[in-house]
Amino acid sequence: MEVGSSQRSLKPASDFLSVFQPVVPCLLSLLLEPFTLGVPLSLADPINQAYNLALYMQKNTSVLLQTYLQYQGSPFSDTGFSAPELQLSSLPPAAVPFMLWRGLGDGERLIQTRGAFSALAQHLQLVNDDQADLNPGSSVLLSQLAAARLWAQGLMGNMASVMTVLGVSIPPEVDALGPAPFGASAFERKCRGYVVTREYGHWTDRAVRDMALLKAKYVA
């Protein structure tokens, strides 16, 4: 099945910064530097920054997914729940044949990953809004969703820095969701959130691999 086949645009979610004050200081060094310094002097720093952030994100993706499923009830909260068949057309899948991925150029690989996190950031905003409606008392889940969206945006910035150093042109951001997807039922929104949080984990894993590859290549 296809859940939420009609994807629409999302609202900006800058207000989530206020929710996560404790994590802001540690993230500032990762997020703000590419924007403030413009073109970095060397390639190692942005790669390391992007790599470190991706690693940090990777440690939290499973927690986010489990927290999300726990709040949705059965069957999502059932032990061992997995529905790989659920996909979102508005969200590119992270799964890719290894040789195809390995054969991609550095720029293309970064463009795909950055584009995916751009779509993920939009979808995480959508999921956050959905859960605020479906689970209004789930402050833990809402805070984790907001943090994930912030980290996705940060990783996008770090990757843009790397792309800049590598001389790869940064494509403009795409409205992945399209018109507002208000018609989805409550169950569809739960499923949609599941796909988003799951794919967020998959794309984070892929980003770590991407950055590790660049790190091995460009950072001694």
Partner: protein, 972 residues
């Protein structure tokens, strides 16, 4: 139009008339079959909205009709609903009925048909059903070719209700799985593509809702789900009421009942107020109260409907009231105090709503000294009267509407103090007079005035001492306000002392007391009496004063041991002669001394009695150490030493208790008090009621027994500690026994022997004379008693001796020295001088009378007097000699003694009498006159054993007289 209706009515009436003639076809005229039918699905309410029309004429007549509605699902042949819907037709109003289906209406198609019947009282004869309409089909989603679950999105259901779901597959007969919180669901296949699932009694699981979803095996990636939110059932609001505090805002409150599971933000239970007269509505922010702005002076009556509703249910409560009767006034600002004087104060307050159409009733409460006085007023001020000067009062005021009571306002409080006034009453004054070298030391005490008498803050006390003697002198002293005594030295004169208290306004009445040292001197002769304490205090009683005292005063010290003894006193009226003195300071084991004074009319006090006592006596804190002296077999002496003294602690020292416990048990003698303990131990208690006595003799003890002694000092509070001593008495003393019993016996025996030796002759004559005096024999008394004394007593003058035995004196003495004389076989043969003719003849003709001397056998003499034996020969030729007579007599006699016990018959005393005829000289007399003749001779008395007598006799035929040594008689 009216004309048309009139004509139509006339037509119908005519038709009715016609129908009476032709009834079979008349029904067709008032039957209105369904002309159009349509259905709509309202998913939120699970409602199949059915709309239909009939012929417009039916509306014109406003007919009351019954519509029978049949509903069935496509896949079922049976009818799922058969409803009779009754309504009155109204022109231009659509006929409509909503059918609520447990199964979501999208799950399958529903078919509806309707028929009608006129049910109008105006046409009772035309109640005929019309024909059924054709089936109208409401299409479901089961033929859409898509996967579905119904209901869709999210639904709200109440707890414990039943929920029906359906899963619709894309193609026929696909396998479908349904899940809802791992609950069992009843599966029913409605059509090849639709399966119905029923879940009963759903319950709350989580705030995020429960997921119901269908999973189709033909397409694993396709899951259709719906989120079900469970809510509690809204209860009808209770205690809905409204009131106003200011006639501007109405405050309505209610009890919402059991809270639902969810916060109102998520499943909002909306509360709203609707007022019917003004047709205004407000949505309430809170779930149990709401405010409403009143339009002042325009509307008094209000009709409110409170509505509580959520996604599932709606509840309503109505209330109608006059707002002027729902006013709870309030007091604004502080209560002001005006015109406070010594005894009065005026309170003033402000009430809202301040409108002329409202009148109020106010309540004032005044608190003072734990008491409350209540006043009521309809005004907004009130004057309190009869207050105590210089007294703090606490007041509070509340008000309510007077015309219609609704609620009291809150209390508003105010405190105030009245002004000072002159002290009232007089101080309670008393004194102690003690002799000192210069005279007497007078300590004057007074008790502070109670607040109600002080009437202000006491600033000082004034003491005026005035002599009552010839020399007039007056001294004035002041004492601080916090003092309660002063001390002055006086001489031998009497003084009048007055004490008064001052505050800022004036002085109290002076208290006067006359003090003189003489009164204390007279107290030396008054002895102190002991009194007993009670649970409450110490009971005192005194004799009425013969001088008719004006009153009595008892004083004492609360702490007699301390330097500052806390002097106390109490005054009593002239008729009181007893009291229980109570004090919180009284302690057990403390001796309190009381002095009882009489008070004269001249304010002079004189000591009447002294008392001393305890509230409760305690045991002394000492331990007598006991020792033992003079330990004997049956007695001992206890001595003890102690430091027990009769000090004014603990109790009155009365003496000692001596406790004795025997280890072998036993009883207590009469001098002791027996105490039985639970373990059957008996303790004997001696009481020594003398504190000076330190020794005690214990007697009547058992020899060779162990005793435990304990000596304790006792008071009214019990015994002190004591020390045990264990004592074992000695064995009985034999020397003492000899000294006390045997020695006196020996002594007296010796005296008796000496006496007997000295008086042997007298004793011999009295007790065992050589020749017994027959007249002194007891036999005589016996004979005298029997009246034949002359037969038993021989007259010695009549005795004719027949032989004289010559006894050698030395031989006699020899015989007296040997008791074996009669015992041996060799018997000394005495020499006889035969005075009477010898030979058998001489004796043959003589009869001999023998008798037994009964003085030697008392029992025999008592038994039978016939023992006196007479041997009278019946044939002279056959007469026998004396030996034979004696032998016969002995035989007979012995035979008569056969009945006597052997022991008693060992010895026999026999006397032989000579023939009586020879004595009288009438020798020719025969035996025939023998009876008249007295006994002729008293012969020698013999004593012999029965055996011996028999053995002796054969040796000699002569009559002999044998006796023992001592009783060897001379012939008479």
């Amino acid at each position: 139009m009216a004309l048309f209706l009139t004509l139509w009515t006339v037509f119908l009436l005519a038709l009715m008339h016609f129908s009476t003639c032709k009834s079979t076809e008349s029904s067709d005229y008032l039957v209105f079959p369904i002309e159009s039918l349509n259905t709509f699905i309202r998913s939120n309410e699970q409602c199949l909205d059915i709309e239909w029309t009939v012929n417009p004429h039916a509306y014109t007549l406003n007919l009351k009709m019954i519509f029978q509605i049949d509903i069935r699902r496509t896949t079922f042949s049976n009818i799922v609903e058969n409803k009779n819907y009754t309504t009155t037709l109204i022109p231009n109003e659509t006929l409509q009925w909503c059918w609520h289906s447990a199964l979501p209406l999208e799950c399958t198609s529903h078919l509806v048909r309707i028929r009608s019947m006129v049910d109008d009282e105006r046409f009772p004869e035309f109640k005929f059903w019309s024909s059924w309409s054709s089936w109208w089909k409401s299409e479901g989603k089961d033929s859409s070719g898509q996967y579905h679950i119904f209901p869709v999105d999210k639904i709200y259901v109440e707890e414990d209700s039943n929920v029906t779901f359906c899963c619709i597959s894309r193609t026929d007969n696909e396998k479908v799985d349904f899940s809802y919180e791992e609950r069992y669901s009843q599966r029913t296949k409605l059509s090849p593509r639709t399966t119905m699932f029923e879940v009963n009694n759903v319950s709350f699981v989580r705030r995020g809702g429960s997921n119901a979803f269908c999973k189709f095996n033909s397409d694993n990636s396709n899951i259709q789900g719906v989120v079900v939110y469970i809510t509690g059932v809204i209860e009808e609001p209770k205690n809905f009421s409204c009131q106003t505090r200011d006639l501007q805002t109405l405050n309505c409150t209610w009890d919402p009942g059991r809270d639902t599971f969810f916060p109102e933000k998520f499943i909002p239970t909306n509360y709203s107020l609707f007022e019917w007269f003004s047709q205004k509505k407000v949505n309430c922010v809170h779930r149990n109260w709401c405010t409403w702005q009143l339009t002042s002076d325009i509307q008094d009556m209000y009709n409110f409907t409170l509505t509580a509703e959520n996604e599932v249910r709606k509840r309503r409560v109505d209330i109608l009231f006059n707002v002027t009767q729902q006013v709870q006034p309030q007091l604004v600002g502080e209560i002001s105090i005006k015109h406070v004087s010594e005894t009065e104060a005026t309170l003033k307050w402000k009430i809202i709503p301040n409108q002329k159409r409202l009148s109020f009733l106010c309540q004032i409460e005044v608190y003072h000294d734990g008491k409350v006085i209540q006043y009521n007023t309809s005004r907004s001020q009130f004057t309190l009267r009869e207050l105590q000067p210089y007294t703090a009062y606490s007041t509070q005021v509340r008000c309510c509407t007077a015309n219609h009571f609704w609620k009291w306002s809150e209390w508003k409080s105010k405190n105030f103090t009245t002004k000072e006034d002159v002290p009232s009453g007089a101080l309670d004054v008393w004194r102690i007079v003690e002799p000192v070298s210069m005279g007497y030391n007078v300590k004057i005490f007074w008790k502070p005035l109670p607040t109600f008498q002080a009437n202000g803050k006491i600033q000082n006390y004034i003491i005026v001492m005035k002599t009552l003697g010839e020399v007039h002198r007056e001294d004035i002293f002041f004492s601080e306000s916090d003092s309660n005594s002063t001390e002055k030295i006086i001489d031998q004169q009497s003084y009048e002392i007055s004490v008064a208290a001052f505050n800022s306004v004036g002085s109290s009445t002076p208290s006067v007391i006359v003090v003189s040292g003489d009164t204390e001197n007279s107290a030396q002769n008054i002895t102190e009496e002991r009194v007993n304490g009670t649970n409450d205090g110490i009971y005192l009683s005194w004799k009425p004063d013969p001088a008719k005292a004006e009153g009595y005063i008892v004083d004492w010290c609360n702490y007699p041991q301390d330097a500052v003894c806390d002097f106390q006193w109490r005054k009593f009226g002239p008729n009181t002669t007893s009291a229980i003195i109570r004090s919180a300071a009284f302690q057990p084991g403390v001796r309190y001394n009381f002095r009882i004074y009489g008070l004269s009319t001249k304010h002079e006090a004189y000591l009447l009695e002294k008392k001393t006592g305890y509230t409760q006596e305690l045991a002394l804190d000492c331990k007598p150490i006991v020792t033992v002296e003079n330990l004997a077999s049956t007695s001992l002496t206890l001595n003890w030493k102690d430091n027990c003294i009769d000090e004014p602690q603990y109790g009155f020292f009365n003496g000692y208790h001596i406790y004795m416990k025997s280890e072998v048990g036993g009883s207590c003698d009469q001098e002791t008090e027996k105490q039985n303990f639970s373990d059957n131990i008996i303790v004997c208690k001696y009481t020594v009621p003398d504190t000076k006595q330190k020794t005690f003799n214990v007697k009547k003890l058992q020899p060779k027994s162990t005793y435990n002694f304990e000596v304790k000092a006792y008071t009214g509070g019990g015994d002190s500690l004591g020390s045990f001593i264990k004592v074992t008495t000695g064995t009985p003393e034999n020397s003492n026994l000899i000294m006390t019993i045997l020695f006196p016996m020996a002594f007296f025996s010796l005296l008796l022997i000496i006496g007997l030796n000295l008086k042997i002759q007298w004793v011999k004559e009295k007790c065992f004379p050589d020749i017994p005096d027959p007249y002194k024999s007891s036999v005589l008394s016996l004979m005298k008693f029997k009246g034949n004394i002359h037969q038993a007593t021989l007259n010695t003058s009549d005795c004719i001796p027949d032989a004289i035995e010559v006894v050698n004196k030395s031989e006699i003495s020899k015989m007296q020295g040997s008791r074996t004389l009669l015992m041996g076989n060799e018997i000394t043969k005495p020499a006889y001088l035969y005075l009477l003719p010898t030979g058998k003849d001489a004796l043959d003709s003589q009869t001999c009378i023998c008798f037994e001397n009964f003085t030697y056998r008392q029992d025999a003499s008592d038994s039978d007097s016939s023992r006196q034996i007479q041997m009278i020969p019946t044939d002279p030729t056959r007469s026998v000699g004396p030996a034979e007579h004696l032998l016969n007599a002995e035989k007979d006699y012995i035979g008569s003694l056969d009945n006597i016990p052997a022991g008693e018959a060992s010895l026999n005393y026999v006397s032989q009498l000579a023939p009586t005829g020879a004595i009288s000289g009438d020798k020719g007399s025969t035996s025939s006159n023998l009876e008249a003749a007295p006994c002729s001779e008293y012969k020698m008395q013999m004593v012999m054993s029965t055996g011996l007598a028999l053995s002796l006799l054969p040796e000699d035929d002569r009559p002999i007289s044998v006796t023992s040594l001592d009783q060897l008689e001379k012939p008479c």
